[in-house]
Amino acid sequence: MTIDVATVRKQYPTLQQEVDGRRLVYLDSAASSQTPEAVLDAMDGYYRRLRANVERGVYRLSEEATARYEASRHRLAAFVGAPSPDGVVFTRNVTEAINLVAYSWVRRRLGPGDAVLTTAMEHHANFVPWWHAAQDTGVELRVVPVREDFHLDVEAMGHLLADGRVRFLALGHVSNVLGTINPLSELIALARAANPEVVVLVDGAQAVPHLPVDVAALDVDFYGITGHKMLGPTGIGALIAKPERLEQMPPFLTGGSMILDVSAEHVVWNHPPHRFEAGTPMIAEAFGLHAACDVLDELGMDVVRAHERELVATFLDALGAADGVTVYGPTDPEQRSGAISFAVDGVHPHDLGAMLDSYGVCIRVGHHCAKPLMRWLGVNATARASLYVYNDVDDLAPLLEGIEAARRFFAR
């Protein structure tokens, strides 16, 4: 099975547009993916037929909306192999999912003498919450460095774990800058060897859209997901957790729907996952995320991965052969996803981005919310082209053309 990109593209209204008479070439899915008709239809179905609040209505609109909202939870659980739908907490995005754990686990349970281990490859979403929690609690923040081959430094990680004080490990599944796919099982085993009780959170923002993921098999405590990068709508993400972890945690946000009883004297928290969903949830967005899982499963995540692996190999070859282009990231397509960071000699990424825009090519430039990694790379910014199901080899030529034009334009 392969992806028939021409057919797939028809499902994405944005990609039907032209920019200055050129086909729009969208190479920024690592920032946010395009949205297929099926996802828009699912949300429309909610707004046009079932528009009501969920969880407490006794009339049919609300009952059906509730059933479908909960069905989305089951759908996402199945899609990522969550241990149980009760371990699926809907959040606004993966950033909120990670903060939930920083507030309701790390801040509540760790203190001076304990350490949290993260890496220099993380998105700020999986770095700043731990930094902030460390400031508040006196926990020590340790950072696994990156090797010259753009993989995590496993040896250094071993040293950072050696004293057994690391009680929490926060790790990205796939780097949004380098494309590196981290060997999770190996890294987690290393951490558990040093401390069998270590609690593990994985930031899956760049993994779930692009690889088959089985959270139960990974045996992690927490796994974060964001909807808008996996063909879903904005405004929804999820924390996937072992239900027993959630049981142990006090709530984070409080308000309606997450309590059983309230008086001035006492409050009885509801059971997970509801304990962690305060107030009116992202109802339409949950409908949309459900449809996004369907779209991806119809393509088949194995097929999605195979398509991207082939495509990234083609792009890497071509960029490697282009004049004045330096790629940051693993060279072996087996070990990386389709986010390709690069530099062009003599052209600042911002200028490159503007030039590519004039060719109808959308790429991202900047620090990609990964300042610690930028420091390590020794640059202020990179350009990044990233691939998804609607990209194909025909997107390569406009990219190369724009890069070459920028080189000529800005040559001194």
């Binding site: 969880e55 407490r56 009952e63 509730t66 059933a67 009885v268 509801n270 059971h271």
Partner: protein, 154 residues
Amino acid sequence: MTMDDLYQEIILDHYRRPKNRAPALDGEDVHVHHSNPLCGDELDLRLRVRDGRIDGLVFDGEGCSISQASASAMTDAVLERDLDDALELAEDFRLLMHGTPATRPDDLRDGVVFEGVARFPVRVKCALLGWMAVRDAIETYLAGASDHAVTYDD
């Protein structure tokens, strides 16, 4: 789905003329209090056991017709049964509420008419309240205690 699917005549009968409804029970062994705070249903159940059999059982409470009628029908179905048997029957009713056909429809007595409630997800909790309470009462008894309170979520 109309009112009649949900509110069978037998259900309304139990609601209007509940069986075994009382605020107290002579020689009570266990008292449990169960509530669905999100609906506002409250139920007190009192149990007396003799020779491993349900010898006395009364309920009291406040709530919608479904919760009160179901509790009434439940008392009728489990009185005089062995504790194990009653627990099994409660499980049969629970599965019924989740769409599985009853394996012991005759033993459930009027409980079977609540089958239609399964199609009204928000009311399932109401129908279950009495049955979950009796299960809890028996388990509390078997554990050697005499009192228990449970609060359900939505």
